[in-house]
C-alpha cells in the first residue's frame, strides 16, 4: 500500500506519516500542490491525506482532479478549515472523508481503515475487544476462549458496541442498527436485551463492560480502566 500525505507543516506531516506507517506501507510526504502533482504523476496511490491550505493554493483542486482519475485513491482531507461549508465543499469536491485539526490519532486511523474498506463493501469478519470476539454474520462470539452462540439481536448489539468501542452509542443510533422497519420496539426491550448480553459476558469472564448512561446511550469498554 502506498499513501501520499500533502501537508505543508513539516512536523504535522511527519506525525501523520508515522501514523500511517502503522498500517504497513510506504508513505510519501509533500508540502505543496506542485510537489503533490509531480508525485501523483509518478506513482499510483491507495490513499491520500490532504491538508487544504498550502503555500501555493487551496488543495481542493488537487482533490477534485484526483477524484476524477480512473484509479483514484481514497482521499481524506485533514485541515483546520472545518466549518460545515468547508466540509461540504471538500466532500462535494471529491474527498471520501473530512477531518478537522486538531485530530485524535485513533480517529484518523479508524477513518483511514473505513475509507479503505468502503469500496470492497466488506466489513471485517471478526470484531474484538479484550477477550471478547464477535464473528460477524454467524452470531457466534468467543468470550475468554469459550464459544457462545448469541441471539440475533444480542449479536447485533455487541457488534454495534464493538464497532464503537470506547465511544458512546446513543440509544436511538443503536435502535436504528438492530431493529428493522417493521419491528415492534417495546420501551424496555432494548434495556432487557442489553442486560441479558451483559450478564452472558460477565458469566463467561469477559473483561469488557457495557455501561448504560441514562437518557444517553451505551458504551463498551475494558472493565479495568487503564
Amino acid at each position: 500500500m502506498r499513501s501520499l500525505v500533502i501537508e505543508d507543516e513539516p512536523q504535522i506531516g511527519a506525525y501523520v506519516s508515522r501514523l500511517l506507517g502503522q498500517l504497513h506501507g510506504i508513505v510519501d510526504l509533500v508540502g505543496s500542490i506542485a510537489d503533490a502533482r509531480q508525485a501523483l504523476d509518478n506513482f499510483k496511490y491507495d490513499l491520500a491525506i490532504v491538508d487544504r491550505m498550502l503555500p501555493d493554493g487551496d488543495a481542493l483542486q488537487v482533490v477534485t482532479t484526483l477524484s476524477q482519475s480512473s484509479e483514484r485513491p481514497a482521499i481524506i482531507m485533514l485541515t483546520s478549515k472545518d466549518a460545515t461549508e468547508d466540509v461540504v465543499d471538500g466532500l462535494n469536491g471529491g474527498a471520501d472523508d473530512y477531518l478537522g485539526k486538531p485530530f485524535e490519532p485513533q480517529e484518523l486511523l479508524a477513518r483511514v481503515r473505513a475509507v479503505l474498506r468502503r469500496p470492497r463493501l466488506l466489513a471485517p469478519s471478526v470484531l474484538s475487544l479484550g477477550n471478547v470476539e464477535l464473528h460477524l454474520g454467524s452470531n457466534e462470539a468467543v468470550v475468554a476462549d469459550t464459544k457462545i452462540l448469541l441471539r440475533r439481536r444480542e449479536a447485533l448489539i455487541l457488534g454495534a458496541l464493538l464497532m464503537r468501542r470506547d465511544r458512546v452509542i446513543t440509544r436511538s443510533a443503536l435502535i436504528e442498527e438492530i431493529y428493522g422497519f417493521d419491528d415492534e420496539i417495546e420501551s424496555n426491550t432494548l434495556e432487557a436485551q442489553v442486560s441479558r448480553l451483559r450478564k452472558k459476558l460477565a458469566e463467561l469472564g469477559g473483561d469488557v463492560e457495557i455501561r448504560s448512561m441514562r437518557g444517553i446511550g451505551y458504551i463498551l469498554r475494558l472493565a479495568t480502566p487503564r
Binding site: 512536523q11 504535522i12 490519532p105 470506547d166 444517553i216 446511550g217
Partner: protein
C-alpha cells in the same frame, strides 16, 4: 442639564415682554396730538384741582410739588382758576384772548379748545366741588412724558392687561409648539439610536427624518456608530483568526503527547488538549456567529444534547462521574440556532462541570421547554461568585484550572441567539448552568414521522 423647552420659553418670554414694552412706549409717544393734549389737559387739571383751596371767600392755589414741577417745566404756562366769583390767575402776560369769559359757568367736564387767534390751544376743565363749580383754564403746559404715560396706563389698565395676556398666550403656545417640535425630533433620533443592534451598530440614523438643527448631532452619532462597528468587526476578525491559527500548534501538541511514556500523564494531557480544542472551536464558532457568516436554522436541541453528552461519556466514566440526561417528553425540541455554536456552548458547560465540580458524583442534563440545564452535585460556588463567573478570566476558584474564558464565550454564544446563560449555585449542594433560549418550542409531531429523509 438645562431643559431646552424651559430655556426656550424663558428667553422667548423675555424677548416678547421687551418688544411689548417698547411698542407700548412708541404708541404712547406717537399718541395723536389732540388726544395727547387732552390727556395733558386732564393731568394739569388734576394737579390744579389738588392745589386749589377754597376758604370762605378766598380761593388760593397752593404751591404743591407737582405744580412747581409743572411751572418749572413750562416757561409759557398760564392758568385761570375760578369758582363762582372767586378767581386766581397765573402767567396772565402769556394768556392769549380766550373764547370764554370769567368766571366760567359752563357744564362739568374737560375739553381742549383753540384760542381766539387759532395759534394755540388751551385746556378747560370744570369740576364740582361742594356747592361750587371749580373751573380751570390752562395754556401752554409742558407735561412730562412720565405723567402722561401714568395716567394713560391707569385709565387703560384693563385693555392693556388684556392685550398683554393675549400676547403672552401667543408666545407661550408658540414656544410650547416649537419645543415640542424639537423634542419630537430628538425623540425620533433617540428611538432610531435605541433600535440599533449594539453588537453590530450599523444601519445608522437616516438624515432625512431629523430636523436640520439636529443633523450635526446625528452625523456625529452615525460616525461614532460606524467607528464602533468597524472596531467590533476588527476584534471579531481577530478572534476568528486567532482561533484558527491556534489549531496548527494544537495539532502538533496533540501529536507530541503520543510520545509521552506515562499513560496517566498522557491521558491527562490528552484531556487538556481536548478542552483547549473545544475552547478554540467555541471561539471560532462565536466569531462566525457574530460575523453573520452562518445562518440560524431550526435545530433539535434534544439531538444535540444527546450527542454532546455521548462525546463526554468516556471522560465521565474515567473520572468516575455518572452522566445522565433527563427529558420532559420524548421527541425533538426545536430552536433557531447555529448547530456548531450550540454544540460548543454545551460542550463547554459539560466539560466545565467535569473539571470544576469538585467532588461531584453525578452530572445531570435536563431538557425542558426553556432549554438545557447542566446540574452537578459538586461543592458549588461560593456565595455571589455566579455573577463574576461569566467575565473573561474569572474562575470559581483561584486553584481551578482553565483560563475562565469558556463561560464568557458560552454567554456570548447565547446572547447571539437571543438567549442567556443562567448560573445558580448552592454552596455544598452543587451548581446548575442553564442555556435558555427565547422560544424553545414543543415537539412537533410531524417531524418525527419524516420518512422521506436520506
Amino acid at each position: 442639564m438645562k431643559s431646552i423647552a424651559r430655556t426656550f420659553a424663558l428667553s422667548l418670554g423675555i424677548a416678547a415682554t421687551t418688544i411689548f414694552l417698547i411698542m407700548m412706549g412708541i404708541f404712547i409717544w406717537r399718541y395723536p396730538t389732540e388726544e395727547r393734549e387732552f390727556r395733558s389737559c386732564q393731568v394739569v387739571a388734576a394737579v390744579l384741582d389738588r392745589a386749589t383751596v377754597i376758604e370762605g371767600q378766598k380761593l388760593t392755589v397752593r404751591s404743591t410739588p407737582a405744580l412747581e414741577e409743572l411751572k418749572a417745566d413750562s416757561p409759557n404756562l398760564w392758568y385761570v382758576v375760578s369758582a363762582g366769583d372767586l378767581l386766581s390767575e397765573y402767567g396772565s402776560e402769556h394768556r392769549p384772548a380766550l373764547p370764554f369769559v370769567f368766571p366760567y359757568h359752563g357744564p362739568v367736564g374737560s375739553s381742549v379748545f383753540s384760542t381766539l387767534d387759532q395759534n394755540s390751544t388751551f385746556c378747560l376743565s370744570a369740576v364740582q366741588r361742594g356747592s361750587l363749580r371749580l373751573a380751570m383754564m390752562v395754556g401752554e403746559p409742558q407735561v412730562r412724558f412720565g405723567r402722561i404715560a401714568r395716567t394713560f396706563l391707569l385709565r387703560r389698565v384693563s385693555s392693556i392687561i388684556l392685550v398683554a395676556l393675549a400676547f403672552a398666550a401667543t408666545v407661550a403656545i408658540g414656544s410650547a409648539l416649537a419645543a415640542r417640535f424639537v423634542s419630537r425630533g430628538i425623540e425620533r433620533v433617540a428611538r432610531r439610536a435605541l433600535a440599533i443592534d449594539p453588537s453590530a451598530p450599523q444601519g445608522l440614523i437616516s438624515l432625512s427624518e431629523v430636523p436640520s438643527e439636529l443633523k450635526p448631532l446625528v452625523e456625529a452619532l452615525n460616525r461614532a456608530f460606524g467607528e464602533i462597528d468597524a472596531y467590533i468587526r476588527m476584534q471579531r476578525r481577530f478572534l476568528g483568526n486567532a482561533a484558527h491559527q491556534l489549531r496548527t500548534p494544537l495539532t502538533l501538541l496533540r501529536a507530541k503527547i503520543e510520545d509521552v511514556p506515562d499513560p496517566a500523564l498522557r491521558a491527562e494531557l490528552v484531556r487538556d488538549v481536548r478542552r483547549l480544542t473545544s475552547l478554540v472551536s467555541a471561539m471560532l464558532d462565536l466569531a462566525r456567529l457574530q460575523n453573520h457568516a452562518v445562518e440560524k436554522r431550526p435545530i433539535d436541541l434534544a439531538q444535540i444534547t444527546i450527542e454532546v453528552l455521548a462525546d463526554f461519556g468516556p471522560s465521565a466514566l474515567d473520572a468516575g462521574i455518572e452522566l445522565a440526561l433527563e427529558q420532559d417528553g420524548k421527541g425533538p425540541l426545536m430552536v433557531q440556532g447555529v448547530d456548531a455554536a450550540i454544540r460548543s456552548a454545551l460542550a463547554n458547560l459539560v466539560g466545565n462541570a467535569l473539571i470544576h465540580a469538585h467532588g461531584a458524583r453525578r452530572i445531570v442534563a435536563t431538557l425542558s421547554r426553556d432549554g438545557i440545564s447542566i446540574n452537578d452535585d459538586g461543592a458549588g460556588l461560593p456565595d455571589g461568585a455566579e455573577h463574576g463567573l461569566t467575565e473573561p478570566f474569572q474562575t470559581g476558584n483561584a486553584a481551578c484550572k482553565g483560563a475562565g474564558l469558556g463561560l464568557s464565550i458560552v454567554r456570548e454564544i447565547m446572547a447571539a441567539h437571543g438567549g442567556e446563560l443562567v448560573i445558580s449555585s448552592v454552596p455544598g449542594r452543587g451548581t446548575t448552568m442553564s442555556l435558555r433560549f427565547p422560544a424553545a418550542t414543543a415537539p412537533v409531531k410531524a417531524a418525527q414521522l419524516d420518512l422521506q429523509g436520506p
